[in-house]
Amino acid sequence: MVNRTIVGAHYGLRDWLYQRITAVIMVVYVAGFFVLLCNGPKLDFATWRMMFTPQWMKYATLLFLFSLYLHAWIGVRDIVMDYVKHAGVRLALYAVFVIALLLYAAWSVRILWGI
């Protein structure tokens, strides 16, 4: 294949929007979490465990973690796009990151509902 500069993949807007929306979700969760933490009783293992017992807290935390993974995927892909010039290496790295983030997502569910 001839070595030409190829651009025009016609995507990017959706990722850019997702990154902003997930950022807002994370800010709201972290702020709420700190409020909960500051107003709660003395922080020990029992309190910490109790915080994550209600179903709504599990879902909120899961939403936060999924937002984090999606946000991280777009951010990491941006870094790889900037610094890794070989398309094959880039694709391989994408695969590694996607698999890792999917495993994290599955692991998150296991941890949250394992409490």
Partner: protein
Amino acid sequence: MRFSIYRYNPDIDAEPRMQDYDIALEPTDRMLLDALVRIKEHDDTLSLRRSCREGVCGSDAMNINGRNGLACITKLADVKEPVVIRPLPGLPVIRDLIVDMSQFFKQYHSIKPYLQNDTPEPEKERLQSPADREELNGLYECILCACCSTACPSFWWNPDKFVGPAGLLQAYRFIADTRDEATNERLDNLEDPYRLFRCHSIMNCVDVCPKGLNPTRAIGKIKEMMVKRTV
């Protein structure tokens, strides 16, 4: 006044070097460009581009004490000694302070920097309302000096794929123009992870623009239009 200037002649030098100059200035030497011309009187091997000497042509863009700017509108009173002068970062050096701007202009041309309108021309001119014309303020003033694009890390890493702040400012200049009819094609052309979305709004471009323009705001407006078009 003391200067340290980047020197490189690819025909002779194996690698670039910094050369120190200690020059007695005349009272009429007010701007950095005056000093550089004074240095050239003593050492005519020093190469730089210059033309209008009043911040309109954009020829004498260079890196002054680590910051991109135009030598002709940089006051000598404002710069710290020794004044370290390098060519614009990220572009290939042709000689001394002269860089090869091909990549920069290639990106500029890629956004089709001209009005596209297929309707029959009116007898005199295509008119705009004062409000529509207002939108072009802060866009049309760009002199294409490349200070902004060469201060942008995204442009350093992907000069062949990322349009860069100067090109994107001009892209919005034509998207915002009510006389232009190719808005959709222009947005299509920019909707790309490399061409537009390499911009992460770090605003180096806004910081260095010698004309006080705001490419980040223009890029934000392009993204806003894309969102409106999509949702």
